[in-house]
C-alpha cells in the first residue's frame, strides 16, 4: 500500500535534515502506530506521504514514496488525497463548512459529483462514523470527539485506501479515545482501510495496534511488533513515548519480559517474584492542615440556564497539596476552576481563599487555561516571565528559567518554541508571580513524555514550596502518580474525594466519573492483592524478580 524508500527531507531554513534516509513499508489492511517525541519528524513524514512537501518548495526531498506502487512524485496532492485521507490533530483547524453534511460532502463537491449522489454518500459515511442525525448541526455545536469523527468522515467520503491520523485523540477523554479507536479498528477490519496513527499516548493505544514504528531525530529506530518494542527500545522516555503502565511494572520488577497483557504479566510475576500480602499503606491525604481554599455549599448557574451547573459543593484545598479534579466532560470541573480563578461569581455559597474572597486574593492565584498558546503575549521568554510583574527579581527569573529548562531560550519568541516549551513558559510566567494556588486545566494534553516529566517536576517543586495545585485531568495515570488527593465530579456534584489509591481503585466511582479502569488495578486484582493503581503500589507487595532482567 505505502512504501517509503530512503526518504530524506531538509527544510530550507534548517541545517539538519528533518527526515534522514527513512524507509517504511505498510502493507494493505495493516494498522500501524507511529510514535516519537515532538520534533522527531512525524508531521513532516505525514506531509510527505500526502504529497504536500515537494510542492511547497520549502525544502529538499530525496528518495521515493510509492502509493499502490505509484510514485507520489508523479501524482498531484489531489490525486494522493483520493487515495490517502489525512486527519489532523485539531478538528477545528481542518473543518471548513458550517454544517456537518456540507463538511462531509466537500471533497465530493470538488470532484464535481451530482448533488443527489453526494447526499446519499454523505448519509452513508455519517452512519458509518456514528454521526447520523447530526446532518444539519453546526460543526461548532459538536463535542470534541464528534468533531474528530466528522474530520474522519470528511476524508472517508472519498473512500481512501489509506488513512493517516496525526495525534487524533490527543484532546479526547478516555471514553472518547476508546470509542474513536474502536471505530478505527472497525474501519480497518470491515472496510479494509490501511491505517497509520501518529500519537504519543502509546500507553493507551498499544492494545489496538499490532505494529509500532518509533521515530527519533528523523529516523525510524524501531519498526516491528508492539509487544517486542519495549524490550528493544530501551528507554521509552528518551523517545517521547508513554510506556504502558504494565510494561513499566515489568521494568520496575525486573521481569524477564516486558509485556502489556494482564494475564501474561500476572503469570510472569507469579513465576518470577515473591508476593507478600502485608497491609496497604495509603499516602497521607493532606500535606498540611492549613487550608488555602474552603468552599461551602457552592452553587453556580450559567446565565440563561434553567439548572445549576454546580450543585452545592463542599471542599477544601490545603497548603502543599496536589489535587486532581476528574470526571466526565460537562461534570462541572471547568466551572469550578473558573470560580476559583475569579472568572465567574458564585450563585450562592461561600468560597474563602486565604481568608478573603477570590476577587480580593486574585493575585495569589495562577491559572493555566487549556490553550496555553493564547496566554503567550510577549516577544521573548524573559519578557513573558516578567510581563506585568514588577515585583519579580532577576535572580528568581533565572532560577525559574533553570527549573523550566529554558535558560538557553531567554530571547526566543515564545510562540516559536515547541509545544512543551510553550506550556512551560506560561507555567513559568504564572510561577514568577509566586502564587499560593495554581489552577491547571488539562495541563498535559498533547504533551510528549519528556515534556510530561518536566511538568510533573514543576508541579512537585511548587507544592514542595508550600503551594497548592488543583489540576483538571482525564489522565488517570498522571493523577495516580502525582496527586495527593483526587476529587471526582459528576453532574455538578462531588461524588468522591480522597487518596488516589482509594478513589481510583473503586470501580463504581470510576464508572460514575467516566474514567477508565487503571491497568494496574486489573493486575493487582488478578494477583489477589489489595487494590493498587501505581507501579510503586504493586511494588509494595511484590518483590523484584531474582530470575528476571537486571
Amino acid at each position: 500500500m505505502l512504501r517509503i524508500s530512503d526518504v530524506s527531507y531538509r527544510y530550507k531554513t534548517r541545517k539538519i535534515p528533518t527526515l534522514k534516509h527513512l524507509s517504511l513499508h505498510v502493507t494493505e489492511g495493516e494498522m500501524l502506530l507511529l510514535a516519537g517525541c515532538s520534533g522527531c519528524g512525524k508531521s513532516t513524514l505525514i506531509k510527505a506521504v500526502s504529497g504536500l512537501l515537494n510542492t511547497a518548495g520549502a525544502g529538499e526531498l530525496d528518495g521515493k514514496i510509492y502509493l499502490n506502487n505509484k510514485d507520489t512524485a508523479e501524482m498531484t496532492p489531489e490525486d494522493i488525497g483520493i487515495l490517502v485521507g489525512t486527519v489532523y490533530q485539531s478538528p477545528d483547524d481542518q473543518l471548513f463548512a458550517m454544517t456537518v453534511s456540507d463538511e462531509v460532502g466537500f471533497a465530493l463537491e470538488n470532484q464535481g459529483l451530482d448533488e443527489n449522489i453526494i447526499s446519499v454518500e454523505v448519509q452513508k459515511v455519517l452512519e458509518r462514523v456514528g454521526l447520523a442525525g447530526f446532518e444539519q448541526n453546526s460543526i461548532h455545536t459538536l463535542s470534541g470527539g464528534q468533531r474528530q469523527r466528522l474530520a474522519l468522515a470528511s476524508v472517508l467520503i472519498t473512500k481512501p485506501k489509506l488513512l493517516v491520523l496525526d495525534e487524533p485523540v490527543s484532546q479526547m477523554n478516555p471514553q472518547g479515545v476508546e470509542d474513536f479507536l474502536q471505530l478505527l479498528v472497525s474501519l480497518n477490519r470491515i472496510d479494509g482501510i490501511t491505517i497509520i496513527v501518529v500519537e504519543h499516548r502509546v500507553n493507551e493505544l498499544a492494545k489496538y495496534f499490532p505494529r509500532l514504528a518509533v521515530m527519533f531525530e528523523g529516523e525510524v529506530i524501531y519498526d516491528g511488533p508492539i509487544e517486542l518494542a519495549w524490550q528493544k527500545i530501551g528507554s521509552a522516555e528518551k523517545y517521547g513515548l508513554r510506556e504502558p503502565q504494565k510494561v513499566k511494572l515489568c521494568r520496575f520488577l525486573h521481569l524477564s519480559k516486558l509485556i502489556d497483557e494482564t494475564s501474561k504479566v500476572v503469570d510472569l510475576i507469579k513465576s518470577e517474584c515473591k508476593i507478600e500480602k502485608t497491609a496497604l499503606t495509603v499516602r497521607s491525604k493532606k500535606a498540611c492542615s492549613e487550608a488555602i481554599v474552603t468552599g461551602k455549599a457552592i452553587r453556580y448557574r450559567y446565565p440563561g440556564s434553567t439548572s445549576d451547573t454546580l450543585q452545592g459543593i463542599d471542599f477544601e484545598l490545603y497548603k502543599g497539596e496536589t489535587v486532581a479534579l476528574m470526571g466526565f466532560n460537562g461534570a462541572g470541573k471547568s466551572t469550578l476552576i473558573n470560580l476559583l480563578g475569579g472568572l465567574a461569581e458564585l450563585s450562592s455559597g461561600e468560597l474563602d481563599l486565604l481568608g478573603g474572597t477570590v476577587g480580593e486574593r486574585a493575585y495569589e492565584i495562577g491559572y493555566l487555561r487549556q490553550e496555553p498558546d493564547l496566554m503567550l503575549l510577549a516577544d521573548s521568554v524573559w519578557e513573558e516571565l516578567t510581563w506585568k510583574n514588577k515585583k519579580v527579581r532577576k535572580e528568581v527569573v533565572w532560577e525559574l528559567l533553570e527549573k523550566l529548562k529554558l535558560e538557553n531560550n531567554t530571547n526566543d519568541f515564545p510562540l516559536a518554541l515547541s509545544k512543551g516549551q510553550r506550556l512551560r513558559v506560561v507555567l513559568g510566567a504564572l510561577l514568577a508571580r509566586n502564587p499560593k494556588l495554581l489552577l491547571l486545566d488539562e495541563p498535559t494534553t498533547g504533551q510528549d513524555q519528556q515534556s510530561l516529566e518536566e511538568i510533573k517536576k514543576l508541579i512537585a517543586y511548587f507544592s514542595q514550596m508550600g503551594g497548592c495545585v488543583l489540576f483538571c485531568t482525564h489522565d488517570i495515570e498522571l493523577a495516580s502518580e502525582i496527586a495527593d488527593r483526587v476529587i471526582i465530579m459528576a453532574n455538578g456534584k462531588l461524588i468522591a474525594n480522597g487518596a488516589p489509591e482509594v478513589i481510583l481503585s473503586d470501580r463504581w466511582i470510576l464508572s460514575a466519573g467516566g474514567l477508565t479502569v487503571p491497568p494496574l488495578l486489573e493486575v493487582s486484582e488478578a494477583l489477589l492483592l489489595p487494590k493498587c493503581i501505581t507501579v510503586e503500589g504493586v511494588g509494595r507487595y511484590v518483590s523484584t524478580a531474582v530470575m528476571g532482567r537486571l
Partner: protein, 290 residues
Amino acid sequence: MSVRQLWEGCDAAVWARKLDGRTKLLILFLVAVLAIVVDNPRTLFLLFTATLLLHLSARTSIYKWQVLAILLLLGLWGSMFSQALFFAQTPRTPLFVIIEPTMPVLGQITGGLYIYREGVIYGAVQGLRSAMMLSLGLFVCWTSDPRQLLKALITWRLSPQIAFMLVTAIRFLPVLAAEAGEVIIALRLRSDTRVGRKSIIRHLPYIAKPLLARCLRRAQTLALSVVSRGFFLATARKDEFWHTKEKFVCCLLIIFTIGITFSKIVYLLSEQGLYFGNLRIVYDWTKLYL
C-alpha cells in the same frame, strides 16, 4: 449562544441559507452601489429598513439582533453626533449651544460649540449608508456557509487561491471571536491589579499577537486539509447551477441599480448645465427621492 455561534448562520431560515452565494454577493455589491448613489435620507432609510426586513424574514436570533442593534446604534449615533458638532458647510442652523463663544478660555479657543441641524442630517445620511452595509453584510455572514461564498467566487473565475484566502477569513471569524475572548481572559488572569482582573478594554491592545499566531497555524492546517480533499481541482464549479428565480431577481436588481445610477448621473450633469428637456421627469424624480 456562544461567541462562536454568533458568527455562524446555522440558525438562519432555510431559504436564506439556501440562497446561492452569487445571489448574496451580487445583492451586497448592488446595495453598496445604491448606498453611494442615493443621498436622500428617506430613501436611504427605506433601503436600510429593507435590509432589516431581510434579517426579520431570515429569522435572525434575538441575540444576533441585540448585537446588530448595538453595532447599528453605535455607528449611527457616532456619525450623527460627530457631524452635528463639526459640520463645517453653510448654511447651518444651530439647534443647541454647548459652549458659548463668550465663555472664558474654552469659548475663545473654540469660537463656540454648537449642535447643527444640517450636521445631524448629514451625519444621519452617512450613518445610514454604513448601517445599511453593516446590516446587509451581517445578513450575508449570518446566513452563509464559507463553502457557498467560495463556490460563488470561483464560478466568477476568481483564482481558487485568492478565493480561498478571502473565504478563510470568514471561516475563521467564529473561531477568532471565541479565541479573542480566551485571550482577554488570559490577560485578565495575568494582570497584576484588581482593575486589570475585571477590565476588558485595557487588554484589547495586546490581543493581536496570540490571535495572529494561532491563525497562522490554523490556516496552514486548513490549507493542507482542503488541498488533500481536492479543493483546487474544482472541476465542477465552473458550471455550478444557479436557480432561475434567483437569477431573475438579480437581473431585476441590476436593472434597478443601473436605472438609479443613470438617473443620478443625468441629474448631476443637469446641475452642471448638461440639461435635456425630455428627461425632466427623471430630474424631478431624482431630486425628490434620490
